[in-house]
Every structure is written in structure tokens, then in C-alpha cells.
Symmetry: C2
Amino acid sequence: MSQDTSPFTRRLATNARTVEGLLERLLGQTTEADEIARPANLLAAMRHGVLNGGKRLRPFLVIECADLLGGNRDAALRVGAALECVHCYSLVHDDLPAMDDDDMRRGQPTVHRAFDEATAILAGDSLLTFAFDIIAAPETALSDAQKVELILALGRAAGHGGMAGGQALDLAAEKSPPDEAGIVTLQAMKTGALIRFACEAGAIVAGAAKEDRARLRAFGEKIGLAFQLADDLLDLTADAETMGKATGKDAARGKGTLVALNGQTWAEDRLEQLVAEAEALLAPYGVRSAILVEAARFIANRRS
Amino acid sequence: MSQDTSPFTRRLATNARTVEGLLERLLGQTTEADEIARPANLLAAMRHGVLNGGKRLRPFLVIECADLLGGNRDAALRVGAALECVHCYSLVHDDLPAMDDDDMRRGQPTVHRAFDEATAILAGDSLLTFAFDIIAAPETALSDAQKVELILALGRAAGHGGMAGGQALDLAAEKSPPDEAGIVTLQAMKTGALIRFACEAGAIVAGAAKEDRARLRAFGEKIGLAFQLADDLLDLTADAETMGKATGKDAARGKGTLVALNGQTWAEDRLEQLVAEAEALLAPYGVRSAILVEAARFIANRRS
């Protein structure tokens, strides 16, 4: 059966359209904060960086984790959109000439190619800032306590102890390849932190008990590791056309990955193990967690 | 009487040392969020961008505005430190080669000169993210409702409808000089928004009534305009040694300023008028607002 017609991928696609619709509204010319006009060129660059037909995997995880625990769906959607703004800002900045120097992203010119470098820097800055605006806004139907928890968790997942810190370690890795423990830390921060946050955020949106929150956070950690491992496998095997961006670059730069270190067979075994562990964490929720189990499998087996 | 020995400048300096001390602790190797180590090089770049002996004018305004209305001083200090992180991130990114391309800032090499461009981008990103972390953290002794209000106001002051948007307009102004109304909008966003937020934030920290909050916000607007006008005058008249950075660059790039448009005498008159208006806004608070009146005068008359 093709991935494109499975119930899971249909649900992923439906969610992605809903997220895209909200992002489209949030990044419209008139927004919820309408005191000052937003510069059209900057807004266009932000839209270019966000409205690009991504899979919206992180918002999907927020929405489905919140749903599992009975959270408000609209609130989860807004938190998911905020998280997607953070994810997309990181791509816009990572693509810059001073960073990965990428010309293409999802088959389109990167923001600094479609606009210019200064505008790409500002568009990234603005998307990051906007994420916190979206969560704090009155339109997000959550208690103030929930908003503060979300903002704190997002700040730490995205900041120098999380994603941005992981990116800094990644820069350092080009000059001095890290050992296995170093690679694991780097990846847990660079890609793992936001995926873990996505799952934990769903629990916060649902006002979950401490134990449920810890469980979803642990689930997010497992699939975060799986995501990066699958990415490293793809970087090795996929071609640029499938990925819509340059591939094989990590290997070409001598960046250490666990796949390079331990081999493809090890990586495939490890992926299976991570999915099993992720699945086991959701066992207490029974059949209601089926969609998240499928998400874990999808993440491990994705080919783009 | 020299500015350096007036009671006002002594208080400004005392506050600056307190803010510097908190920033030093917040950006220490071990911080409040200690789950994952922060990369040393990134942290060093963040420290370079922040711990540079600035006047800490924005935190000063948060602290003194909160104090005027009976707010918690420690909470105001933390919000001030968060705001300073946002201000400093904007300087780190503005100095980048793709933006203003500045080598020096406060007599020191800019972050991308002392480190490298990629690290400067990430240090700015991390400082911006950290600002929201600081406000949301349990150590900030405010209600969740106050934190959400602060985060929303800061997000809007710093984002594409505020500071970052103003910076985008500033880039556009190099290619196509704006008219007077365009310059006013640009400046209200680029520098005005954060100064206005500083004053409004003090009111939020104090849990102020709506009217007091609006009054301090209006005061912040006036001194924000004064700040930019004084800056434009300085750019015209000061030398690089006094400023610790390159001067005359705006004029050299043909960037329109109100000083260039209307002349130095007009600007000096307008500055006086703005200070008088700012002072009038504080009249209801009587003698308790003396320090803020002095701050307005200092901002209008500063020579560095």
C-alpha cells in the first residue's frame, strides 16, 4: 500500500491543511495586532519561509497529543502553528550563507535567495518572536498558567540549551567531529528538542497530570531520536529530487552521524527499537493512541 | 555640573550594575534550566553581545516605572534583563555584514568579528529566545496573567509589527528614502517600540490600573521619539570616539532622518517639546516621578 493513501497520511495531510490555513491567516496583511502596519516585504519573506507546503509534523504531534488527553483542539492548533513558526525560522537561518548556505528548500529558493540575506535574517527573527505572540495572544483559549508553561518549555526547547545550542554544536562539529555521545547530545538538542516539545505541549494544552506529561515527553524524545536517525539515513541514500533540497551534504562535510559511525544495518535496527520503545510508552492509552503509534512508524520509515 | 556626577546618572549607573549582575548570573555556565549543557562558544558569544557595559537604559525605565506604581523591584529587574537581551540581540544582528556591517560596538569588536557570522546569528537568536524564558521562569515573581501580558506586549514590540519591522523599513529606506511620515513610522517601530514597552512593562509589573498603564505607555512613546531624535543629532555631530562605534553612517548612506529633513534647530526645539510633553504626562504622580522626568531630559540631551 502506498504511504499516500493510508489513513495516517490522509490524517497528516488534513491536519497540515488546517495548520496551513491558520498560518495563512496569522501571516495575513491584517493580523490580530493591528496597531501598526507590518512591512509588506518582510511579511512576504516570512510567508515564503512558512507557507511552503511542509508536512507540519510538529503541529500534528501537538494536536494529536492534546487530543489523546482531551485537550482543546483549537488551542492545540494555535500552539502547533506557533511551533511551526519556530521550526521555519530555524530553517530560514540555517539556510543562510554563513550557516549551511543552501539555495533550495522544499523545491523553492530559500528565503535569502528569493529575497536577500538581511531580509532573511529579519524574517527568521520575526517568526521566532511571533511564535511567543501567538501563544500569549487572547485568541489562544488556554489559562494563563498553561500559556506560561508552554512559553517556558518552548523557550528552553528552542534556545541555547536546545535547538539553537544544537545548531552551534553542529557548526563546531564541522571543525572537530564529535564522538558518539557528542553526536547524541547535538541531535537531541538540534532536532530532538522541538519534537519533544511538540508532544509535551500537547499534554500541557490538555492540562495533563504530571505523569501523562512526562510520558508524552518521553515519547517525544524517542521519536525525536528516530526522526534524526531516519534523516541521516535519507541524507545517505535519497537523491536531491526526492528531498527538494541538497543531499549528501552532511557526509561531504565530514559531519559525524550515527549512521556513518555504526553503519546502515545498525541504524535500521536502532530505528525499530526506538519505535518499539515509543509504542510501549503509549500502551496505557490503548487504542486511542493508535494514531501516535503510526506517527512514530511514519517518522522512522519516511522516505522524504 | 557634569552629567557624570548628577544624582540621576549615579542612579542610572547603580541600576546598570544591578542589571549587569543579573545578566551575568543568567548567562553563567550553570543557569536556572540545567538539564542540558549549553555550548560554551555560543554562551561566550551571547555574553560578548550583552555584557559590554551598556547604559541599560531600557531596564532602568522598567525598574523606575514599576517603582513609581509600587511594583516588585526584583520582578522589574528580571523583566528589564529580559528586555536588555532583546535589545542586545537586535544589535548583534544589526551589526552583521548583511545588515549594517559594523566592526565595532561600544569600543569592542562586534560579535561576528570577535567570533564568526554563524555564531553571531545563533547568539542573537538565543538571546531573543532567552528573553521569553526569563519572563516566564518561576523565578520571576509575577502572576501568570502578568507574565502573559508582558510576553504579548514584548512580542509585539519586538516583532514584525515593531522593532524587526522597523529594521526592515530601515533597509528599504536605503534604496528609497521615505517621506517624513515614513521616517516617523520607521523610527517608532525600530527604536520607539522597545522604549515604549519598557515603560509599559513597568506598569504591568506593578499591576497598574488601565489608565496608569496607558499613561506610562504614552510617556514611553514620547521619550522613544526623543531618543531617536537625539540619536540622529549625535550621528551628525559626534565623532566615533565618543560613540564607540562608526558615526555619520546614516547620513553617508543617504538615510533620511528628521534632522536631515528639518534641520538641527528644528530638532532641538522638537526635543524640548517632547520632553515637556513627557513631563506633563507624569504630572499626576507629582514629585515621585522626578527620576523619570530626569530620564526624559537625559535621553534628550545625551551626548553618547
